[in-house]
Amino acid sequence: MGYILNQLLNGICQGSIYALMAIGYSVIVGVVGMVTFAYGEVMMIGAFSAYYIFIYVGNNLPLAILAAFAGSFIIGIVIYKLCYERFFTAPRHISLLCTIGISMLLKNLAQIVFGPETKPVLNVVSNKTFNINVFGSTLNIRLLQIVIIVLVIVLAAALTLFFNRTKYGIMLRAVSQNKDASYLMGINVKRTALLGNCIGCGFGGIAGILLGIYYFSVSATMGSAYSMKAFAASVLGGLVDIRFSALGGLCIGIIENLGIVFTAATFRDIFAFAFLILVLIFRPQGFVSKKGARV
C-alpha cells in the first residue's frame, strides 16, 4: 500500500512535468497551426542552457529556469524561421518534415557541442524528505517533488493569466482559432505565430530542465522519448487545448508510475504509448467539448 501511494505521488510529480511539456506543445501546435517533431530537442536545449548555469554560476534554480526558457525560446525563433515562416500556405507535410530534419540536426549538433555522455545534475534542490503517515502507511515526499509541482502550477497559472488577460494573449488565441480573421483584425499573424512558437518552446525548455533535475542528469539524446510523450499528452486535447493537454500529461505520468508497480520499470514507456493508441482509437479528436464551436 505504501509503495502504491508513493508511486502515485511520483506519478503526480512526473505527470506535472509532462503536463508542462504538453502545455508548451499544445501552445505551439495551436498558434502555429502545424505539428512539430523537434520539441524533444527544444527541451534538451533548455535543459542544457540550465545545466551550464549550474556549472558556471552554481545551483541557482530561478536563474537556471530563466536560462532554460530563454535558450529554448531562441531555438524557437530558429525553428520558426526554418520550418514554418515560408510554409504557411504550403502542404502541411513540408514543415513537418522540416521539423524532423531540425530535430536530427539539433540532436547531433548537441552531441558534438555538449558531448555525447550523460551529464549529472546533482544537489540542485536539497535532498530533504518528509515522511507522512497516511492510513498507516508512510508517504515519503521529497522536497524536490514539492518544488516541481508548485513550480508547474505557478507556471501554468501565469500562462493562463497571460492568455486571458493580456492583449498578446487575445492575439495568440485569435491566431490559433482563425488566421484569416486575425489578419482582418489587423493582427500581425506571422509575428504572433512566432511569439506563440517561442513561448511554447520556452515552456518545453523548462520542462526539460525539470526532468533533468528529477532524474539527476541531462544528455544530448534525452529529447526523443519526451517528444513523443508530449505529443501523446496533447492528443487528449486534440493537440491544441491547453487544459486537456495538461491533464493528458498528468494522466500519462500517473499511469506510467502506477503501471510499473504491476510490471517492471523498464516497461515505463509502454504505458504512455498504449495511452496514446487508446485515445487515438476511441477519441481521435480529443476530449475538448465542441460546445464553443457551433458554426
Binding site: M171, D180, Y183, L184
Partner: protein, 241 residues
Amino acid sequence: MADTILKVENLSVNYGYIVALQNVNLEIKKGEIVTLIGSNGAGKTTTLMAISGLVEKRHGSKVTFKGQDITKMAANKIVHMGMCHVPEGRKIFPSLSVYENLRAGALGNKNMTKARFAELIEEQYALFPRLKERSKQAGGSLSGGEQQMLAIARGLMMDPEIVMLDEPSLGLAPIVIEDIFELIVKIRDMGRTILLIEQNASVALSIADRGYVMEIGKITMEGTGKELLTNPEVKKAYLGG
C-alpha cells in the same frame, strides 16, 4: 460631391489557372452605401479579399484607399489604415467570449485609447443589445444571426472609416435580415462608409446609394440603387422577374 475614399482600378485575380476577376473598377465615396451584387461564384468575395490584401492581385491592378496606394500592402497594415472587412461566413473566434471577440477587433486600431475603447464597447452594446447580454458567452455558442452581429460589432471596434460586409444576410431568417440591414443604415448614419456585398439584391439595392452588378468576374452594370432596382435586366436576373 464627396471625396472618393476607395478606388479599385483594373483589379484582376487568378486562382491558379482559374480567372476569378477581370479588370474590375469600383469607386466608393465617403459616406455612401455601395452594394456589389451578383450570383454565387461571380467573384464578389474575391473582390473584397483582393481589396483587403488576402489574395494576390494580378499585375496592373490598383487599389487606392484614402488617396494612398494599398495594392501591395500587407493585410494587417490595410486594417490599420481604417478599413474593416467583415468576412463571408462571419469567421468570429468561436472559443473567445463575445467580449474578447470585441477586444480582438479593437486590436485593428493602433491609436486606440482606453477611453475610446470603452466608448466603442458601449456603442456596440447599444447597437446590438443581445451582445451585451451574452458578453461572457463563447462566440461559437451564439445563433447565426447573433454571430453575424458579433462579426459586424467586432469590425466596428476598430473604429473604421469604411466597413466592407460580405453577404451579411447569408443563411439568416428574413426577420433577422431586416434587423441587420437597418443596422447597416444606422452605421452609415454614424459617419462610416459601407461597401455591401449581397446576393439578396432587392434588400441591398433598396438601402444602397449606388450599386454594381458583377457577373463571372466582371462588372456588367452600375447605377444608383433605384436605377438598378427598376432595371429590367436586373429585375429578371436578380429580383425574380
